[in-house]
Amino acid sequence: MRHIISIRDLDRHEIDEILDQAQNLQALHYNPMALKGKLLGLLFFEPSTRTRMSFASAVARLGGQSISMDSVEASSMVKGETLADTIRVVSGYVDTIVLRHPKEGAARLASEFAQVPVINAGDGAGQHPSQTLLDLFTIRQSMPLRGINVGLLGDLRYGRTAHSLAHALSLYEATLHTISPKGLELPSGLAGELRDAGIEVIEHDDVKEVVQDLDVLYVTRIQRERFPDSASYFKVASSYRVTPELLTGVRDHLVVLHPLPRVDEIDPRVDRLPYARYFEQSANGIPVRMAMLLRVME
C-alpha cells in the first residue's frame, strides 16, 4: 500500500515519474475509466476550495467517484473522536483517503491507522505534496528543472508551500533567492538543511536586487494576522508587491507563480503579462492529482 505524505518521501526519480505521467494525462493520453468502481474519500478538516475540488475533479475524470464530509461541525470530531478512529472508520468506506487537517503530522498519523492509501492535502503548517508537485509541473512546462534560479518572495517562515518547494528544488540543484519581511524569513534550520543538501540559498533585502536574474519568481501571501496592526501590514506588503514595473527587463522566460489565493501581493495588471502563470498553475492541479491518484489507487 502506497501513501503520499510528504515531498521528502519522494526521490527525484519518483517526482519525475509523477510529472511525466501528469504530462501524458494533460495531453489526454489516458483511460477515462482507469478508476471505474473506485471511491475516493475527501476528509477536509479545514476550509479548502481548490484542493478539494481538484481532487474530486481528478477522480471523476478517471471514472471514479468521491464522497466527502459535509463539515467538521457535522463530524464525530466534535464528539471528541480521535483522528485515528475517524481514519479507521473511513478506511472501511473508501478506497483512498485525501486528508486535510490543521495539525502538522496528521497525514503521517492517518497513514499508520488507515487500511487504504492516504494522500496528504495539507497538514497545518506542514506538508502539501500535491501543491509542490503541481508547482514543479508548471515550472517544467517552461524550462528544465535542473540548475534554475528561483526567487521565493513573501512569508517564508509560515508558508508551507515555499518550504516544500524549496526542499524539492534542492533535488534539482537549483539556486534559491529568498526575499521576505523581517521576522518572516526562511527558518534557519531549513536554510541550513538546504545548504547541506548542496544548494545555494541567498537572502536579499529587496526583490529588485535579484528579479532580473531569476527564472522563476514564486510569490506567497503575507498574512495580515502576522502584524500588530493594519498600517504596519500595508507598509510591509506594499514593498513586496509584484507589479509590471518591477518586471521590466526580466528574463523573457521568467515564470511568476503563486499558490493562490492572492490578496495584494500581485498587481492584477501582471495577469496580462506573459510571465503570469499562476492560473495555469492552479489548473495543473488536475493532471498532477490524477497522476497521484493513479499512483496509489490503480
Binding site: 510528504s6 480521535t82 495539525k103 502538522e104 503530522g105 506542514g126 506538508q127 538543511e193 547541506d196
Partner: protein, 164 residues
Amino acid sequence: MKEHRRGKERNEKDARQGLLISPIENGTVIDHITAGEALNVLRIIGITGTTQESISVATNVESGKIGYKDIVKIKNRELRKDEVDKIALIAPKASINIIRDYTVWEKKGVEIPSEVVGIVRCPNPGCISNTNEPIQSCFLVQAKGMRCVYCDWLISKDITSNII
C-alpha cells in the same frame, strides 16, 4: 613501588566514593553519566517515584575520565540493552555494569538508537503527537539531531528539557 602507590590511591578513592554510594549485590550500575543528568537518566528508563526499585544516586562525583560524573545503582534489576541505549541521548559516555553477587558480570557502553519512541516530547505545539491521539512521540536520530516523524521538527539541542 609506583604501582603500589597507585593502587593505594585507588583504594582510598574507592573508599571515599563508597561513602557516597555503597556496592550492590545484584542489579545495574550506570557509571560515567554526564554530571547532573542522573535523575533524567532514571526518568528515561522509566524509574520514577512510583516504581519499586531500590536506587542509589551520586551526583557530581570526581572522575578522571570526564571531570565530574553521576552514578546510579539500581538494586535487583538488570537493564536490557534497548533500555540503556535510550540514555545515550543525554549521557553518551555512560557505561553499564551488570552486577551479580557483588561482581561485574557484564560491562557495556551505550549506543544512540536510530529511533526514539515515547521518550521525548515534540517541541512543536502544532504537532499531532501533542494531542490526545493514541500515538507515542517518535523521532528519527540523524547527524544534526532528532527529527519528529510526524511534523519533521528537528531538535538539535536541549533534548533534556523535552523529555516526557
